[in-house]
């Protein structure tokens, strides 16, 4: 194993499907023990990028290492030390929970397989249901089984592709607590998600759209780099106000959050001018910090303009 602190270190990673560029020259560095969030709309190339990191696909261009192994020609070594959790549940539904874990443990030649499987079952809290078929589990339990299965060979890097899609909030919170525990023990985690609250639980983020990496850094850095100004307003007849504002110059987003409207734009002066035209005593206007979602939508709109 290499001693450098960069678990993932790739530059210019590109993948084409036919003549369509799915991943366009992405650079990414991830440090050991970091939880790195990967955000982006559907079809933005997140899954393809992850598949290149774990050795399922070969990049068409670009170089780099994953766990110190070359992503272009040392894929078997990478596969040995990476845990990859696919977007869709991809363990055997006609095998029991124990049989699935045992199968994966055999594939990775885990030492002392029996106790590894037993430990994993107990951590999962499934020891007494270990003979249940995986296909009979609910979405949340399937996700926990999948996580347990990709941890059974003690990987050094965990690649999670939308692990919490369709999982209830409590199970999601437990899942994230577990991820933080693992990261504290030195495991590196790259995770893709659509949920903004999850983005805020990552150490660092990258935003990818249409194959291009648009923003990266800590949460604050990403928020700042969007250079977005946001106003909130409360008061009467908000739907009419929203319609009125939507057409104004400098107003890029008007979103209703319950009894509040969020107004965002990249040009603070134009936005302030727009606000001034409709401002009166019935409304309570405040300038606030942009949320991750505001930034997310803004980045997505820009990406559409730039790459479509």
């Amino acid at each position: 194993m290499n001693t450098t602190d960069l678990v993932i270190d790739v530059t210019g990673i590109t993948k084409l499907f036919g003549d369509k560029t799915v991943v366009n020259a992405i650079d990414l560095q991830v440090k050991r023990g970091e939880i790195y969030g990967f955000l982006g709309p559907n079809g933005s190339g997140k899954t393809t990028f992850i598949r290149m990191l774990c050795g399922l696909l070969t990049p068409d261009a670009g170089t780099g290492t994953c766990l110190g192994y070359d992503v272009r020609n040392q894929q078997p070594e990478i596969k040995r030390h990476v845990g990859y959790m696919t977007q869709r549940f991809s363990y055997y539904e006609d095998l029991s929970i124990r049989e699935n874990l045992d199968f994966i443990a055999r594939i990775y030649a885990v030492t002392d397989r029996a106790s590894a499987v037993q430990n994993s079952l107990e951590c999962l809290g499934l020891a007494n249901r270990s003979h249940q078929l995986a296909g009979q589990l609910s979405g949340g339990w399937k996700q926990r089984l999948a996580l347990a299965a990709c941890l059974i060979h003690s990987p050094q890097l965990l690649l999670l592709d939308e692990p919490t899609a369709g999982v209830d909030p409590k199970a999601r919170r437990e899942f994230w607590d577990e991820i933080h525990r693992l990261a504290a023990d030195g495991l590196t985690v790259l995770i893709t998600t659509h949920y903004m609250d999850e983005a805020e639980r990552c150490h660092r983020l990258a935003y990818i759209a249409y194959g291009n990496l648009l923003a990266r850094g800590t949460l604050d850095e990403v928020l700042a780099s969007a250079r977005l100004t946001t106003w909130t307003v409360t008061g009467p007849a908000l739907p009419a106000l929203a319609e009125n504002l939507r057409s104004r110059d400098g107003v890029e987003q008007v979103v209703a959050f319950g009894n509040t409207l969020h107004l965002s734009g990249r040009d603070p002066a134009k936005l302030a001018a727009a606000v001034a035209t409709v401002r009166d005593s019935r409304y309570d206007w405040k300038q606030t910090r942009s949320t991750m979602e505001d930034v997310f939508i803004s980045l997505m709109d820009q990406a559409k303009d730039n790459f479509k």
Binding site: R51, C54, G55, L56, L57, T58, P76, E77, K79, R80, V82, Y84, T86, R88, F89, S90, Y91, Y92, E93, D94, L95, E99, F103, I104, R106, I107, Y108, A109
Partner: protein, 377 residues
């Protein structure tokens, strides 16, 4: 580091066994299909049909005509179901398919026979199905040369059939009584194995892809050859169960002779089973979904029945069809099975049929491996 690892291969084998055990219906089919085919083909197919419905239009009722009719009856091939009066009647019977043959004995039959004028007996056959009429027509010819000898004593002996200038002696080796089952039942072994082995494994990899488990499998260090070999091994066991079922039935139900060495047959069966499994896996890597995989398997199965010498004589086919047939593993396996069981062939005699089997196995495996690698990229 990248070489074959037994523990990964074994993990796949165990997983396949568990899945096979869980899928009761498929498992029952794997045993049920050979039994059903054995019953249907073994008892139903007969390439030497007898007791065919026949109409007689006898214009002459003399003793010679009666001898002729009697001889036809005892030959087993003809069952006289109609005594017709007119030609229109016989034509109608043929047209309706009520009779397969019409035998017309002319009114001057006895007179001409006694005068040595070689009377003509017209045998009309419904030859829409040549296989049904062929053996019976062949029997008619041999009848003519022998039936009247007893009725033509003394001075009439000069009318007896004369021997030809050459005496052909026929020894029908290996199956002198021309029993169809001796040919069909051993052949069924190849057909049953082709059908079940190819279909089952054709589904193997497509199913993994459809259920999404393939992506996971590819993300692990497991190598393509380990997956293929691991998926093949459990079904070799199934194949051997089928071979045993068929052999037991051949022996006990059909009394098929087993002259050669059964251990040799079991050993050769391994290559044939593996060749079919490799073919199935190759279909599996080519198909996009399970339906396509099954269709490909059927596409392979039909020539394996029709062009291999299972149903129709191999040497009766045109050159190109023989060439196609020679590429199919079943062609060679059929010759091996029949050779071992009926003729008592040993390793030396079957060697010319064995290497094409091995070649097929290697090619199918290589194509499958090559295709498997590209499943995600």
């Amino acid at each position: 580091m990248n070489r074959f690892a037994f523990h990964r291969f074994w993990a796949i084998v165990l997983k396949e066994f568990i899945q096979m055990k869980r899928d009761r219906v498929t498992f029952a089919m794997m045993i049920g299909i050979p039994l059903m085919q054995l019953m249907l083909f073994g008892f139903a197919i007969n390439s030497d049909p007898r007791h065919l419905p026949t109409a007689i239009r006898a214009a002459d009722q003399g003793p010679f005509a009666r001898t002729l009719v009697q001889a036809l009856r005892t030959s087993d091939y003809f069952q006289i179901v109609h005594e017709a009066e007119t030609e229109t009647e016989t034509q109608r019977l043929l047209q309706l398919g009520d009779v397969q043959f019409v035998i017309n004995i002319p009114e001057d039959f006895s007179r001409k026979l006694l005068r040595g004028e070689r009377p003509t007996v017209l045998v009309e056959a419904d030859a829409t199905d040549p296989a049904a009429t062929g053996p019976a027509l062949a029997a008619v010819n041999t009848l003519a040369s022998s039936i009247f000898n007893r009725d033509l004593p003394g001075p009439l002996a000069r009318l007896q059939a004369k021997a030809g200038p050459v005496d052909f002696r026929i020894h029908a080796h290996y199956n002198p009584e021309n029993i169809t089952q001796y040919n069909v039942v051993p052949g069924l072994m190849g057909v049953v194995l082709t059908l079940t082995m190819v279909v089952i494994t054709a589904l193997a990899i497509t199913r993994e892809r459809e259920r999404g488990t393939m992506e996971n499998l590819l993300a692990t260090p497991v190598r393509p050859f380990e997956v293929m070999a691991g998926k093949i091994l459990p079904y070799i066991a199934v194949g051997y169960i089928q071979v045993t079922l068929i052999l037991v039935a051949a022996r006990c139900l059909f009394g098929v002779p087993m002259v050669g060495s059964l251990p040799l047959l079991y050993a050769v069966a391994l290559f044939f089973i593996a060749a079919n499994l490799a073919m199935g896996i190759t279909c599996s890597t080519l198909a996009k979904n399970q339906l396509q995989a099954v269709q490909m398997a059927v596409f392979f199965f039909l020539p394996s029945i029709l062009l291999t010498g299972f149903m129709f004589p191999f040497r009766g086919m045109p050159e190109w069809a023989q060439a196609v047939g020679s590429c199919l593993p079943n062609t060679h396996f059929l010759r091996i099975v029949r050779g071992i069981l009926l003729k008592g062939n040993g390793p030396l005699e079957i060697a010319p049929e064995l290497w094409p089997l091995l070649l097929f196995l290697v090619v199918a495996m290589a194509v499958g491996l090559k295709r498997y690698r590209r499943t995600l990229d």
